[in-house]
């Protein structure tokens, strides 16, 4: 790798305007503009403050765990780091190849065969054509679909779909790995195999950012913990400092 992986988040805020509410339709905008209420309307629009003034610096070797209750902004922060949501305030700088494991079925199409889905994922990741056979072999072997690989995903069992999704998501090795907690769920037999593969990938990544409710995973994998509460960083430090504080709060159900 030429450059060391690095993430800098400076004073980032993300707001979600709720377009589905009132200001969505053009008619209302035009009517509001015509009656001179546009400015007022815009200020009164319902906004969810998903992240507020978040500061974060990660460099090669960091293993960060994001903790917080549901709706604290963990997934939003992962999406910001992945470049999906562009900040409305502040600055984000990311250096290094990145793979975000956010959506288990990303780009998967149930009508296509397993093999076609693998190739499609390779294309989504912008892999050169020469890498595609290797990707196919790797995913097919790990997912253990045997003859099902050439049948449409629609007829797969739920377990097979999870295996394929997992194998696909973990097949491409990045410098920066962002991971949402769904990744740690799965059936027991598969879990051990999955865990090995995931650990390998985590070890291979220079930076890991993991969002989870499972404290055992944080203790095992992370060297640093950020506690998010209502879109703000409540605490940031070593797991042994932050976790007791976090678990000590009465609201937490761990």
């Amino acid at each position: 790798m030429a450059l060391q992986a690095r993430i800098e988040v400076e004073d980032v805020s993300v707001l979600f305007p709720l377009y589905h509410g009132s200001s969505r339709s053009l008619k209302k905008m035009v009517v509001a503009a015509a009656s001179g209420r546009l400015g007022k309307d815009q200020q009164q629009r319902v906004v969810v403050r998903a992240l507020q003034n978040v500061n974060l610096r990660l460099s090669s070797g960091d293993r960060l765990g994001l903790v917080g209750t549901n709706g604290a902004g963990k997934t939003t922060l992962l999406r910001v780091l992945a470049g999906v949501y562009e900040p409305v305030a502040g600055r984000l700088r990311v250096q290094g190849s990145l793979n975000a494991l956010l959506d288990p079925s990303l780009g998967m199409n149930a009508e296509l065969t397993g093999r076609e889905n693998i190739l499609l994922r390779g294309l989504y990741n912008g892999l050169p054509r020469s890498m595609l056979p290797r990707l196919e072999e790797d995913v097919a072997e790990f997912a253990g679909l045997a003859d099902f690989i050439d049948l449409p995903v629609r007829i797969y069992s739920a377990g097979m779909v999870i295996r394929l999704g997992f194998a696909l998501a973990t097949a491409i090795r990045p410098q920066i790995l962002l991971m949402d907690e769904w990744f740690l769920a799965g059936d027991a037999v598969f879990m051990e195999k999955a865990r090995q593969r995931l650990e390998e990938m985590v070890r291979g990544a220079e930076i890991l950012v993991l969002s989870t409710h499972q404290m055992s995973v944080v203790r095992e994998w992370c060297t640093r913990v950020v506690w998010l509460e209502q879109g703000r960083v409540r605490a940031d430090g070593a797991p042994e400092e932050v976790l007791p504080q976090y678990l000590g709060t009465p609201l937490e159900m761990a």
Binding site: G96, A100, L112, L123, D138, I172
Partner: protein, 285 residues
């Protein structure tokens, strides 16, 4: 340790600021375009899969399009050549060409509205150039057009209306179409993501334009005074720069001027809007 994880993700870097200057917004939009072109293989595969999945399980697949266009052209051709008291040999090639080209234009404009909203899941979970979805919409419609071209070929062969080397004169027009199509998907894709009631408006406008533009009727039927005003209609200009050379009826200077002017306007508006809206599209869909 096994060799399970082998494939390396391509290197990348990202620098996003809120309150960006116009110049940096510009360079991010240019970057979107360049990387979008770089992913042409993905766009091609997605466009092609769209068609394949749309006709999944049907025996003839997308050739159903060819058949329905063929039947429509045949029926309308006989009916209107009688109504308009025109020679079938001159009317049918005109109708086949116009109908197929308009079919492409109409579907493209309509599908441009959903080019981003249909990719909602992917847009929300991975950073991708938005231009990929534009190219995908264009490719999907070009594939449909390619199937419908068969109808034109059959009709032209039947009436021996083959344009010969004049065919090449349609190429500049087609290039303008491609540029306009991409601009339109960026503009309408983003605009319709923000305002959900644009698409029905666009669809009804296109329906009106179909009747106002000489698609099933010939421009000559308007008479000299009417024909002089036709270049004001952007759809006429665009249709004519491809249709004229193929029918060997020539393209007037005014028509070319109109086509170039309207296209330049469309591309600049689309670009200006895309530069402003690009970072917000994810929040809109």
């Amino acid at each position: 340790m096994s060799t399970a994880v082998t494939t390396l993700a391509p290197a990348a870097s990202l620098d996003l600021k809120a309150d960006m200057s116009v110049a940096s917004r510009h360079s991010l939009a240019v970057d979107d375009l360049v990387r979008g072109f770089g992913l042409w293989r993905l766009a091609w595969t997605l466009g092609w899969l769209d068609i394949r999945l749309r006709y999944r399980g049907s025996m003839l697949g997308p050739f159903w399009l060819t058949i329905s266009t063929g039947v429509m052209v045949g029926a309308l051709g006989v009916l209107y050549s009688t109504l308009f008291k025109m020679d079938v040999a001159s009317y049918l090639p005109f109708l086949a060409l116009s109908q197929v080209l308009w079919g492409f234009l109409g579907a493209l404009v309509s599908e441009a509205c959903t080019s981003f909203t249909e990719a909602e899941n992917v847009i929300r979970s991975v950073r991708m150039p938005f231009f990929v979805y534009s190219v995908r919409t264009l490719i999907r419609n070009i594939i449909v057009l390619a199937h419908n071209i068969l109808v034109i070929l059959v009709v032209f062969a039947w009436f021996r209306a083959w344009p010969g080397w004049d065919l090449l004169l349609a190429i500049p027009g087609m290039l303008i179409w491609i540029a306009d199509a991409l601009a339109l998907t960026l503009l309408l894709g983003a605009f319709c993501a923000r305002f959900r009631d644009i698409q029905p408006i666009v669809n009804s406008v296109m329906q009106i334009m179909f009747f106002v533009t000489p698609v099933i009727w010939k421009p000559e039927q308007l008479g000299a005074a009417g024909m002089a005003k036709l270049p004001l209609n952007p759809f006429f200009d665009l249709l004519e720069i491809v249709r004229g050379p193929l029918l060997d009826t020539g393209v007037s200077g005014m028509t070319w001027l109109g086509a170039l002017g309207y296209s330049a306007a469309l591309c600049s508006i689309a670009w200006a809007f895309f530069v402003r809206a690009r970072g917000r599209i994810t929040f809109w869909i």
